[in-house]
Amino acid sequence: MIDADSLAIFPIDQWIQDGVRWVALNLRPLFLAIKWPVENLLGFNDHILHATPFPVVVALTLLLAWRLASVGIAAFSAISLIAIAMLGVWNEAMTTLSLITTAILFCALIGVPIGIWCARSDRVWSIVRPILDIMQTTPTFVYLVPVVMLFGVGTVPGEVAVVTAAAPPLIRFTNLGIRMVEHEIVEAGLAFGADRRQLLWEIQLPLAIPTILGGLNQTVLTAMVMSVVVAMIGAEGLGLVVLQGLGRLDVGRAAVGGIAIVLLAMMLDRITQKMAEPKSKGASPLLEAVRHLLRGRTVGDRFTEETIPAAAKQPV
């Protein structure tokens, strides 16, 4: 009878280690180049969030949540932030928040263009799709191994891991959103002579925005989870509070970190989920929200509500 262990004749772990070491040594400039923008933007966000006085952060969150989502969610967000402050982990929470906001920016910057590219080419999608499958089924802390090898330990390598883990949903949803745009509308664009750029900006992207925002919600949640896990490679923030609590068997400290994480996660989830929900049929919520934010109600809106007879509003 053959023993399972006797099949382990190849030193695969050794090969991988050699390979990664080779990559780390020879492609060092590449990884430094990746690290540079992450380090700077993260540092900037972190600085801003810590430098802004507590009441101002609460007030801004209140305003933003109210405009992007609803009054209820705004109130919930403000109360969550105050509760986090009362738990005594305000600074750690701001560090985590800066990890997440930075990750959202990078994910949008990387994820949306890749998603668009996938939607336009079946060949690209057939290559990207299995990669996304692997990335999304890999347990989050498995990401940490190559990140430590290539980028070292600390908050910045942690951020690299957060971005890597959080980008796939956005790529997926962007691709899906564009592919789901009604065929006849795309045809109409072509029939009136749209070129590829016009087709994308006039038709596909605007109509895909609700789906893309759904992807953004997934990205935010993944970033939230990952920002906690990366405490294991020395990233600061709420995750570190939990890790320290566990390390010292300080259940109270670990629980405080845990509660703060849950509050922050719920707050971010509610706001981004509400953004993705189509409020008024048709109007893309983000654009509408930004428009509202910038100049209040438009002339057209007032006109609409005053002049539509009730019957005309019935769905046809």
């Binding site: 006849e184 009136f192 002579g193 006039e202 038709i203 605007p206 609409t304 002049t307 005309a312 046809v316």
Partner: protein, 393 residues
């Protein structure tokens, strides 16, 4: 009328490499044979037709007959596999992307079955769409869009969103969007099929009204033969990717040419389709005298007394004609008579009919060009051969 659009031997096979399918079709094979041998779907099988400028050209067929494929080939939403599409004599099949875009932006516009409006844009922005793609400046295209919206009667809905409008109104927006680009060719792909019957009739009348002033060349795709008869100046009937019959509405109903086409024509309201000109017969001279001639149906009956310019002076009864023939005296003239224009539909001719009076067809100058027999009219409405002896069956 000049020829605006000419399609020559157009083939469309839905396959990456249609060469073998085209070979089978060229050697006399049909759609089913290609599907059995290669598993490829044939959309168009050697279609040739010619659309005169200003025509309301109806392409009619059941689903799967290739009518939509034909429409989509004309602006190359579907790439033709073989054949030529001549737009004012220029073949648009070999055009590169940029030249094709130019044609789509300036020459051919399209109205879609499910409207295909942008839900995130206001009505007026939807109408501006084609102009925006073409790069027309914002104030200019807004001005043009407002103009077109008032033509289709939607000026006060300009700043609403499409979902606030009813189906008929949405299709008016679709029509306005197509008209805004000033393209002279309009492809309407089942444009009214998604509307309920009353709204559909209303939109058909609206289209006829618009067409009488705009005089576009319209290629209208429909599966509804009644719609084709109502709107069309010419109708092309398709089946299995082939053109099976082409002609004016009246000529198709008169001579379907095949059982397939005859099936559509059976339920047609002939009294509303056929006009006086299509039924009238040559006036036969019944009596000739110094004061003029009396003409009427060759079979006999009452007639018209004509002056030297062949204009109707009055009617003459059957008995008077017999009397005049026997005695040589001029027949007694009755001032009452019934005359209609050549384009009058039979249903309206029937309204004018008075027992004992002949029915004449006159041109714009009042000249008698034909006479209408009641028996012939009834035969045409009943779709029976006209009786030879002039008496009703």
């Amino acid at each position: 009328m000049t020829e605006r659009l000419k399609i020559e031997n157009l083939y469309k096979v839905f396959a990456k490499d249609p060469a073998r399918a085209l070979q089978i079709l060229a050697s006399g094979g049909d759609k089913n044979q290609v599907f059995e041998k290669l598993g490829q779907v044939v959309g168009l099988n050697g279609v040739s037709l010619s659309v005169p400028s200003g025509a309301m050209y109806m392409v009619m067929g059941l689903s799967g007959s290739g009518k939509s494929t034909l429409a989509r080939c004309i602006n190359r939403l579907n790439e033709p596999s073989a054949g030529r599409i001549l737009l004012d004599g220029q073949d648009i099949v070999p055009l590169d992307e940029a030249a094709l875009r130019h044609v789509r932006r300036t020459r051919i516009s399209m109205v879609f079955q499910h409207f295909a409006l942008l839900p995130n844009k206001r009505v007026i922005e939807n109408v501006e769409f084609g102009l925006k793609l073409r790069g027309v400046s914002a104030p200019e295209r807004r001005r043009r869009a407002e103009e077109v919206l008032s033509v289709v009667g939607l000026a006060r809905w300009a700043y609403h969103r499409p979902h606030e409008l009813s189906g008929g109104m949405r299709q008016r927006v679709g029509l306005a969007r197509a008209l805004a680009t000033d393209a002279d060719i309009l492809i309407m792909d089942e444009a009214f099929s998604a509307l309920d019957p009353l709204i559909r009739t209303e939109m058909q009348d609206e289209l006829l009204r618009l067409q009488s002033t705009l005089n576009k060349t319209v290629l209208f795709i429909t599966h509804d033969f009644q719609e084709a008869l109502k709107l069309g100046t010419r109708i092309a009937i398709m089946s299995e990717g082939r053109l099976v019959r082409e002609g004016t509405p009246q000529s198709i109903v008169l001579e379907p040419g095949s059982e397939y086409v005859a099936a559509f024509t059976r339920e047609v309201d002939r009294a509303r389709l056929f006009d006086a000109r299509s039924v009238m017969s040559e006036p036969a001279t019944l009596w000739r005298g110094k004061d003029g001639i009396v003409v009427g149906e060759a079979a006999g009956g009452p007639g018209f007394l004509l002056d030297g310019q062949e204009r109707v002076m009055g009617s003459v009864s059957d008995a008077q004609i017999v009397h005049a023939r026997q005695t040589g005296e001029a027949p007694a003239l009755e001032p009452e008579h019934v005359c209609v224009a050549g384009s009058t539909k039979l249903v309206d001719v029937a309204r004018h009919y008075r027992p004992g009076l002949p029915i004449g067809v006159v041109d714009e100058g009042g000249k008698l060009v034909g006479v209408l027999g009641v028996a012939q009219m009834l035969a045409r409405i009943a779709n029976a051969p006209a009786p030879q002896d002039g008496s009703a069956p």
